[in-house]
Amino acid sequence: MKSPISRRAVPALAKAAAVFAGLAALIAAPAPAWAAKVFVTNERDHTMTVLDSESLKTLQTVKTGRRPRGLTASPDGKLIYVCASDDNRVEVYDANDYKLLRTLPSGPDPELFVLHPSGNPLYIANEDDALVTIVDTETGKVVGEIPVGVEPEGMGISPDGKTLVNTSETTSMAHFIDTTTKQIVENVLVDSRPRVAQFTPDAKFTWVSAEVGGTVSVIDNASHEVVKKITFQIPGVNDEAIQPVGIRITKDGNTAFVALGPANRVAIVDTHTYEIKKYLLVGQRVWQMAFSPDESVLYTTNGNSNDISVIDVASQKVTKSVTVGRGPWGVVAVP
């Protein structure tokens, strides 16, 4: 069975030289040239698992700082950034040989961060200080601090990098920040314990999940009004178990995936009608998610079943679950 990516890539090559392409595909089969790498932080093991996206086998388990949580990759996919929460620093790894290249200052207890679309700077949420710390990824220097609400966590950035949205868990707000002036433009009240902020690809809306509130607020970025509050009901699941955290939206802007924590489900939402099309059963306490580079697959981290689930985006089905370390938290995939 070929993966969607190789199916797409083979016809492209076939235009140039059909026979050669066929041969190349055969030769490449054991280690496909298009395979991606999936990085998963294991909060309770203090490690990071690196998986091959085709075989889903562990390539390496990397020792990290203590309690690794948030995870992201540089735009070129060459660097992996890890929040080592209990070591109060951000670690930068080489995506090729998994070596620790350097550490960046982060302020205390970094949990989540977001990279500017250009790859610099890095915006880090400091839970204990009610601050967003801005770090230059080249010089490793703190270049700014923005006071926000209490217990900042979720971080989203607009595709043009001009607007940063941070959520604060205690204040239950999404803070819209102008990255040029480093000032808050507006604070938008959402439901209790907001965890994640995600821009739509057209930059018109920001989706914010509220873990205790059990909702996702859709905020109009121009008016800063909440235009829709999405709620979730799953037959056979208590309402208290429905705790939305991770949000991912496809590049075409049509489909959103929302991870529902201890409900062990991922909701698939039509971004135009806000209708929930499906609830996929994944693993226990699903929090964070990441697309594969070609967006054919979505990976979810399941913190209590110590595995990741692999969702086929086109068919909207869970195709596999793969055991990683204990307490998988963040996930990112690079080509």
Binding site: V150, F176, E186, S192, V212, G236, A241, L281, Q284, S321
Partner: protein, 244 residues
């Protein structure tokens, strides 16, 4: 004494958050009070005071209501089957699975702690092969049984943990009262060295030691509901994978 002290501090804090939320930390969407403005236009909705207390963790509200829950893990008294089952509704299956003795036997073996997951997989394989065209229906009954049994076991353990916490609290009160009494009555060397004084001190030392040891094992006790939930989830996943 520390964990309980922490627990009550956390509980108090959560109560405090509830009160504070209403007064300080919840500016409504229509809140028009002007922000501390300079020449630059600031946000329409101001930030609340920075010393606002911390947000309740998920499940902490339940903790605040229930001082007998000593675990870090949020207290979830019963599981819901939808957390581990995406098949048809189980309402009927939960009522009827016990009517088939073969199913009852298999459920008993699957939920037993001594049965490893590999053994469980082979048991399910054999059962699925033998079930013929009733496979889907029978596997659904198996899951209903596994879910009900593990959920029951888990609820009993949770009740046990609460009893444990109540005993610990009573013991902690006794230690406190005794140490206050000893401090008040044994003010000089002579009373401390007297046979009664020595006896009292020894009893207090024992109580403190028992309390500390029980507190240490709480970490493991609190893991039990989690382990049972994982077991139910794993078995559910194995059963569903044999449905197609």
């Amino acid at each position: 004494m520390k964990p309980l002290a922490r627990l009550s501090a956390a509980a108090l804090l959560t109560f405090a958050v509830g009160g504070a939320n209403a007064q300080e930390t919840a500016p409504t969407a229509g809140d028009t009070s002007p922000p501390a403005e300079t020449a630059q236009p600031g946000p329409k909705t101001p930030l609340p005071p920075r010393d606002a207390p911390r947000a309740p963790e998920t499940g902490r509200r339940a903790v605040a209501k229930d001082p007998d829950w000593p675990c870090m893990q949020p207290k979830v008294s019963t599981l819901s089957y939808g957390q581990m089952w995406s098949g048809p509704p189980l309402d009927d299956a939960i009522k009827t699975w016990r009517t088939d003795s073969a199913i009852e036997d298999l459920v008993e073996r699957l939920v037993a702690r001594r049965t490893t997951m590999d053994e469980a997989k082979s048991l399910l394989d054999a059962f699925a092969r033998g079930a013929g065209d009733q496979k889907a229906q029978k596997l659904t009954l198996i899951f209903a049984g596994v879910f009900e049994e593990l959920n029951d076991q888990r609820s009993r353990i949770i009740a046990g943990i609460e009893r444990y916490a109540r005993k610990q609290r009573a013991l902690s009160d006794r230690i406190k009262d005794e140490s206050v009494r000893i401090a008040a009555t044994q003010k000089d060397m002579a009373s401390q060295m007297s046979p009664e004084g020595q006896k009292d001190q020894q009893a207090l030392d024992w109580d403190t030691r028992i309390y500390d040891e029980r507190t240490q094992s709480l970490t493991y006790v609190c893991e039990s509901p989690v382990i049972l939930e994982q077991r139910a989830f794993d078995l559910g996943r194995e059963i569903q994978s044999r449905l197609d």
